[in-house]
């Protein structure tokens, strides 16, 4: 936690870091609530992971349940659907990264180019409002629009002389639907950080570039983008950390018998296999595995970004 600082002044009575610590004691006091929060809500519950190595029975408690070693992990890896579920999860995540991640950046750059403040504000509000809608509402709206039983989109297709498309119940339409909904809901919200980063760019740089005859696009390419480069990298690493956080609720709402082969992800599997049948140990084991995958990916991404000469997140 504390930063050890190489001291230039060698004092015999007390090390330099202690002095600095004492001088900034109020600042250090401010992080105490944060530390307590992480201890209580992030670190203590981690001990709960031990139940993934037990046959946990609620009424016996952690201390009284029987130890079974890697039994639940074995069950997970030998589950016939396991690789399918893992690849669905990774594919969906890959699409998320590929199609969703760049959009807020592009949107932020576009908003930044709007010169009239009123319009800028107006559009910004307009695009980030959907973030405040719950998935239930978004999926319901989509259902009403896409259903074959009188949905607007299908009615329109018929009017235009095409045949109806089964959006809701076909495996091939699940991923596009998912991604479009994610973009629609989150793109605007994602622009906030980028816009803040863009706002911090020194205007003199733009003036200098204009003097050198750079047009609008040139300025974006040579000044704005490099300026927010490190922000993009940090957000990318954080996003990768959430590799398997695809939003249980969202996928669960879209999931049905017809698209399960492509739509079942680790989260929904934990829910159906574990929690609905009170198999806490098994669910914990699956969740544990998921966290490990996320951890490995973050470390990898961080390593790569350091290689590229960027900051990284630690």
């Amino acid at each position: 936690m504390e930063e050890t600082v190489i001291s230039r002044q060698v004092t015999k009575t007390q090390p330099a870091w202690r002095k600095r610590f004492w001088r900034n004691k109020l600042l250090y006091l401010m992080i105490v609530p944060g530390i307590i929060y992480f201890l209580i809500f992030k670190y203590i519950p981690m001990f709960g992971l031990v139940i993934s190595f037990q046959d946990y029975k609620p009424f016996k408690g952690i201390l009284g349940s029987e130890w079974v070693g890697f039994k639940h992990f074995e069950r997970l890896f030998t589950e016939p659907d396991f690789w399918n579920i893992l690849s669905n999860t990774l594919l969906l995540f890959g699409m998320n990264l590929l199609f969703y991640f760049p959009i807020p950046i592009i949107l932020a750059l576009m908003l930044n180019e709007v010169r009239i403040t009123f319009f800028k504000r107006f559009f910004q509000t307009l695009v980030y409002l959907p973030h405040f809608m719950s998935w239930v509402i978004i999926v319901s709206i989509s259902y009403v629009m896409l259903t074959m039983d009188g949905g607007i989109v299908n009615e329109l297709l018929v009017q235009l002389g095409f045949s109806k498309i089964n959006f809701l119940l076909s495996p091939e339409w699940f991923r596009p639907t998912y991604i479009i909904q994610v973009i629609w809901r989150e793109a605007g919200w994602g622009t906030i950080i980028y816009l803040a980063a863009i706002a911090a760019v020194d205007p003199q740089l733009y003036e200098a570039a204009r003097m050198d005859g750079a047009g609008r696009l040139r300025q974006v390419w040579h000044i704005t983008l490099p300026a927010i480069r490190s922000v993009i990298i940090v957000l990318l690493i954080l996003k990768i950390g959430d590799v398997l956080e695809l939003g249980f609720e969202h996928v669960y709402l879209l999931l049905n018998s017809m698209n399960r082969d492509v739509a079942e992800i680790i989260d929904t599997y934990v829910y159906t296999a574990g929690l609905r049948q009170m198999q806490f140990s098994y669910s914990a084991a699956v969740g544990f595995f998921k966290s490990l995958v996320g951890l490995v990916l973050v470390m990898l991404a961080n390593h790569l970004s350091k290689k590229m000469g960027e900051e990284g997140i630690y």
């Binding site: 709960g48 029975k57 259902y143 089964n166 119940l169 950390g241 018998s257 929690l275 049948q277």
Partner: protein, 516 residues
């Protein structure tokens, strides 16, 4: 870890609570609870006490309304039963989680209601572990509890022993609710066979029953539920066994019977021809009901015929001339009528050993439930206070017009009444809608043709472990078949998969349990 899902949050909360409070689950009886119920029927009123001091009882139950009910009913109830009651209501949506948490921390109250039959399946293991009181031997001491139907009690036994009291439900409430005005207009009689049901759906789709000159009606409105949607009800009319059936002296799951395939083909051709909503596999109950009450669909097979009252109310708002009727007597191809029959209960109440210390305390609590099965108390809890929440007309209860008041004050308690009108003597409901009266007659009639689920009281370890997951395989395959994604060979393949993943064991376990 930026965003936390509520699910993992709940799980970690359960874990951490367990860790912190596992000390309490040793049954030290202090009842240190996480849900603020301090009173777990203290040992103060021990076995030596006389019965004239009010028994202190804490009850935990699911709540199906938005707000906790007021104390109006509770105060009356305490007077009538000479008790001091603490009711802990928790929202039905998250009740299972609450139950698990309270269970894990050893803070279940003396009378613990479950949520439904499925929750009971999950609790069986804990029951076998001896976490709850066996009450079978005590029932004979209580005149009213003895009236509970033995056939329903049998369905709730675990390894032949009784641990719970049940909340009764009619055994066979399913049937179709259809537009009688459309049928009359097109001269269609209520369908007596599955073919006639198909013909009705066809006519309702093609013959413009609403007379607006447009092709905008469908036959059946169904939803994404095989059991409580249309599928299971129709499958029983095809003669499919109820979940499990006997073939050559051996129990087998329903989907291994040819009638199940017939039912799938029936729905496949309904959907292929457009005689039902195309997207039914992704349609929620609300949307299916809307399809029907907006006047676009003519047949609703949603599991329970008493729904006709609410459906009628919403439909006549949109189509004032609409008339609804219920129907359930549909013959199978073999010429007989078969009706799917549930286990006769929709919820149970259990008595945890962590909260109920000794026999004397258990008897006090059972005494309270015994009084609950007298007409006076049952009426109070089910209907409310006479003159305020209901009036008696022709010996039946007529709910007052002020539905909101009843919802607010009574509904919470209504969902906890033990037994059924026949056994606890409460008023039947007064129905004025002809369709509803007909529905109630059909429900009584249905019982004569009821087909039981032979595994209701049987045990299978694999079923407890993977039952839900395995059923999902078959449910998916059934939809895929109906939607033409797989053929019969593909369906057989899915059955093989089911067998391999544990279905084979399940068949063996149920049969072993069956032979006992």
């Amino acid at each position: 870890m930026k965003k936390k899902k509520p699910l993992s949050l709940a799980l970690s909360a359960v874990m951490s609570l367990t860790l912190l409070l596992s000390a309490c689950s040793g049954g030290n009886g202090t009842g240190t609870t996480s849900n603020g119920s301090g009173d777990t029927g203290s040992n103060a009123n021990g076995s030596t006490q006389k019965d004239d001091s009010p028994a202190q009882i804490t009850v935990m139950l699911p709540l199906n309304t938005a707000e906790t009910p007021t104390d109006t009913i509770k105060n009356e109830l305490e007077k009538l039963t000479n008790t001091k009651l603490t009711y802990q209501f928790f929202p039905a949506d998250t009740y299972e989680e609450k139950l698990n948490t309270a269970f894990a921390t050893g803070s279940l109250p003396q009378a613990t209601y479950l949520k439904n039959a499925t929750t009971f399946l999950l609790m069986r293991e804990a029951i076998k572990e001896g976490q709850f009181w066996e009450i079978g031997p005590y029932l004979s001491e209580f005149p009213n509890l003895s009236k509970l139907k033995p056939e329903v009690l049998d369905n709730t036994k675990v390894e032949g022993k009784l641990y719970s009291l049940y909340l009764g439900r009619p055994l066979a409430r399913q049937g179709i609710i259809y537009r009688k005005d459309w049928a009359d207009k097109l001269n269609i009689a209520p369908p007596e066979t599955t073919e006639e049901l198909f013909a009705m759906a066809k006519a309702f789709t093609e013959q413009d029953p609403d007379g607006n000159g447009q092709n905008d009606t469908t036959g059946i409105a169904d939803r994404n539920e095989l059991v409580f949607g249309a599928f299971k009800t129709v499958s029983s009319w095809f003669g499919t066994p109820n979940n499990w059936g006997e073939k050559d002296g051996k129990l087998l799951p329903e989907f291994m019977f040819p009638e199940y395939i017939d039912t799938m083909n029936f729905f496949k051709s309904l959907r292929d021809n457009g005689y039902m909503n195309q997207d039914f596999a992704a349609t929620s109950k609300t949307d299916a009901v809307n399809l029907f009450t907006s006047g676009k669909a003519g047949i609703y097979i949603g599991g329970s015929m008493p729904d006709i009252t609410t459906l009628d109310k919403d439909l006549i708002k949109n189509v004032p001339t609409a008339v609804l009727d219920a129907h359930s007597m549909v013959k199978s191809p073999d010429g007989n009528i078969h009706q799917w029959m549930i286990a006769g209960y929709n919820n149970l109440v259990l008595f945890p050993k962590t909260a109920v210390k000794d026999e004397a305390e258990l008897k006090k609590i059972l005494g309270f439930f015994d009084k609950m099965m007298t007409p006076e108390v049952a009426n109070l809890m089910f209907w409310g206070i006479e003159g305020t929440h209901y009036t008696v007309v022709d010996g039946k209860a007529k709910p007052s017009e002020d539905k909101e008041l009843t919802e607010r004050e009574v509904k919470g308690y209504k969902d906890s009444v033990i037994g059924e009108a026949e056994t606890n003597g409460m008023y039947e409901s007064l129905n004025e809608l002809p369709g509803r009266i007909h529905a109630e007659e059909l429900i009584k009639e249905n019982e004569k043709y009821g087909v039981k689920d032979p595994t209701a009281a049987l045990d299978s370890a694999t079923y407890a472990l993977k039952g839900v997951e395995l059923q999902q395989t078959i449910t998916d395959a059934t939809y895929k078949f109906i939607y033409g994604q797989i053929d019969q060979a593909g369906f057989e393949k899915e059955i093989e998969k089911w067998k391999k993943q544990g279905g084979e064991q399940m068949i063996e376990e149920f049969n072993a349990s069956y032979k006992k």
